[in-house]
């Protein structure tokens, strides 16, 4: 199990190699990517920031929970911080397991928990020049530029 916050582009191939074992019959790779529209507004990119020490700690807690719950230590999670352009990978979760169901369930568990608990924030940059912090609890909060 390994988790990390990174600035550089995520190397998905390296993550897949890291979870690959002879006993793995299934590998799941989840990627979160920057898309070009949100709430019907054209998006140019997203700026990610974090309370880094706590974000690492929470990511590690979540990965350990997944490890215990789904029975595999072969879990790698990387979340990228900084400005990301369209199609860039913001989060990658790689899990391998002897069986496909727990491999898929573990990746699903990790991304859902990340969205609930890890102190990471994103500010969307829109094509019209505006920028807003994304608040999943109540849509978008308008913030001065």
């Amino acid at each position: 199990m390994r988790v990390a916050l990174v600035q550089a582009p995520i190397d998905v191939s390296a993550m897949l190699a890291e979870v690959s074992t002879a006993s793995s019959g299934a590998t799941t790779l989840f990627l979160g990517t920057v898309r070009d529209v949100n709430d019907a507004r054209a998006v140019d990119g997203i700026e990610y920031s974090a309370y880094e020490a706590m974000a690492r700690r929470e990511l590690e807690t979540i990965a350990r929970e997944a490890e215990a719950q789904f029975g595999t230590p072969h879990i790698v999670v990387e979340h990228r911080i900084g400005f990301l352009a369209l199609t860039d990978i913001s989060i990658a979760i790689a899990v391998s397991h002897a069986r496909r169901s727990p491999a898929m369930d573990a990746a699903r568990y990790v991304i859902e928990e990340v969205k609930k608990r890890v102190p990471i924030w994103k500010r969307e940059h829109y094509a019209d020049g505006a920028r807003e912090w994304v608040d999943p609890t109540r849509g978008h909060a308008e913030v001065r530029r």
């Binding site: 979340h79 990340v114 924030w121």
Partner: protein, 99 residues
């Protein structure tokens, strides 16, 4: 914290309250609202998370904080009634949006 000091033998003890200084971290929209990413705030005796929040609310720009924001003490989520020590790092956490 209440301290009791006796300066010389025979003197009446003097009692005083110690004001604690707590470091508060702010992030993302909250940091923008208050114009800073960290604050040093003075709180009274045996402060709880809710006391720290009350002090932060007195600052300019704090009207944007919701009634009960998420708070962490030393990188772990905390409750409003949790005690805050002088060396603790308190973080007020905006709604998270990772992934």
């Amino acid at each position: 914290m209440l301290f009791r000091a006796q300066l010389r033998p025979g003197d009446r003890p003097v009692e005083f309250f110690h004001m604690a200084t707590v470091r508060v971290l702010l992030f993302a929209s909250y940091a923008e609202a208050l114009g800073t990413s960290s604050l040093e705030i003075e709180v009274g005796a045996e402060p709880r998370v809710r006391d720290v929040l009350a002090s932060v609310r007195a600052r300019a720009g704090a009207t944007q904080l919701p009634p009960s924001p998420l708070v962490a003490i030393n990188e772990r989520y905390a409750r409003l009634d949790d005690p805050v020590g002088e060396r603790d790092e308190v973080a007020i956490i905006p709604p998270v949006a990772g992934g």
